[in-house]
């Protein structure tokens, strides 16, 4: 990216006085393409044994923690929103370690959509069943649950099957959608040609490793 635009050059001169020390500008190729996305709706990806081993080790615990936060939200801090976010973060970790495209292939779209839509449907159903039985929206004590306490387990169902699933599904979906960017016949044609020659895969991989 040696083509520094004109407004930028003007700012450089303004900032010249409070320039702290002579940091030489790094090589353009190594810093131009940060997370390493390529036009081919993909992420150039470099295998890293360290990252992959760490994620392999950590992700079961992180997923367990997310499930714990979700399922134990009634007795300790947490709940469906936080637990769902942690569960989605596990998918993010896997994607950063094993490549976003590989993770995309591994995680079927039906799973993500099913989580989000199913969660919304469960929440709405639990809310509307008491209405159908003559009560108010989300009036848990009218839920036709045979043995269990309908209030407590109705709330748990909303947290676990409703909120946690919506949040984990939507956050995971946002991650993959943003990683892909615009649809290919959408607006990204110019960006594609601009990025096509920047950097090497190794450089991109190094930066990908550096990000959380």
């Amino acid at each position: 990216m040696s083509d520094a635009s004109e407004p930028d050059e003007r700012r450089e001169t303004i900032d010249a006085e409070d320039h702290v020390e002579g940091t030489s500008p790094p090589s353009p190729t190594s810093r131009s393409d940060r997370l390493g996305t390529t036009p081919q709706q993909g992420t150039p990806y470099t295998e890293s044994q360290v990252i992959m081993s760490t994620v392999k080790f950590v992700s079961p615990f992180a997923l367990t923690y997310g499930l714990f936060v979700t399922f134990h939200g009634g007795g300790s801090p947490g709940g469906g929103f936080q637990g769902g976010a942690i569960a989605a973060a596990v998918v993010f970790m896997i994607a950063f370690a094993f490549g976003i495209d590989a993770t995309r292939r591994w995680l079927a779209n039906a799973v993500v959509v099913g989580l989000a839509v199913g969660g919304a449907l469960v929440f709405a159903t639990i809310g509307l069943v008491p209405v159908a039985l003559g009560g108010a929206f989300l009036q848990y004590d009218l839920l036709p649950v045979p043995v269990l306490d309908p209030v407590k387990y109705g709330m748990e169902a909303v947290e676990i099957l409703g909120i946690a699933t919506i949040v984990s599904g939507v956050l995971t979906g946002l991650f993959f959608v943003l990683a892909r960017g615009f649809n290919r016949d959408g607006l990204d044609a110019s960006a594609v040609s601009r990025h096509a020659n920047d950097g090497t895969d190794a450089d991109r991989g190094a930066h990908e490793r550096g990000e959380p």
């Binding site: 979906g173 960017g181 959380p212």
Partner: protein, 201 residues
């Protein structure tokens, strides 16, 4: 700093408060400094990538601060959403942009904007004297018998769960939470529409 001011105000009013909650511990003080420094760095960083990363650090500092102020539910959300998910999503989006090389690490300060922000800060700082100390048992939000104390004492009997925060979210304010969940759901659909995709993965 804020808590210390409030504590001295309360002490001057002759109200007895537990000393441990009124003092700012060294850890809290360093966290406050960390949060302020990272917030300034976020505002002033020239490089967008650096700003995003420092913003993530800011959120993590806020999450730790919430833990010390005994709001673990908020801390979990802040850590998971702001420090984790938002940072990742911003980085993913940044990867789609062209990065401009900068000589200087920080933006030049916009003095009118800084003056406006400073005025707002000073104005807000004057109000801190009237804020009860953090954790003070006499704080109105805590001591009123009709709202906070009612929820704290009756939640378990009414709902059967121990976590009052979750009980408020899922039961007492369940309709609001339904709206929030639907907003999250709609955000996913909106992202698909804006990015002209038909599938998530």
């Amino acid at each position: 700093m804020i808590a210390a001011t409030a504590a001295s105000a309360v002490a001057a009013a002759g109200v007895s408060i537990t000393p441990t909650v009124a003092q700012v511990t060294p850890i809290e003080a360093s966290l406050l400094v960390f949060v302020v420094v990272t917030a300034l760095a976020t505002a002033l960083a020239r490089d967008v990538l650096a700003a995003v990363i420092v913003f993530g650090a800011y959120s993590l500092g806020m999450a730790a601060l919430y833990v010390f102020y005994r709001a673990p539910d908020v801390a979990l959300t802040e850590a998971a959403i702001s420090a984790g998910v938002t940072t990742v999503l911003l980085l993913l989006t940044l990867a789609k942009t062209t990065r401009i090389e900068h000589e200087a690490a920080f933006e030049s300060v916009d003095y009118p904007a800084a003056a406006a922000a400073g005025l707002l800060f000073v104005g807000l700082a004057f109000t801190t004297a009237d804020i009860p100390a953090v954790g003070s048992p006499d704080a109105p939000v805590w001591s009123n018998p009709d709202v906070t104390q009612w929820y704290l004492s009756e939640t378990y009997a009414v709902t059967g769960v121990e976590n009052t925060v979750m009980a408020v979210l899922a039961a007492f304010r369940g309709f609001d939470t339904f709206g929030e969940a639907v907003v999250v759901f709609a955000a996913g659909i909106a992202a698909l529409i804006v990015l002209r995709q038909e599938v998530f993965t």
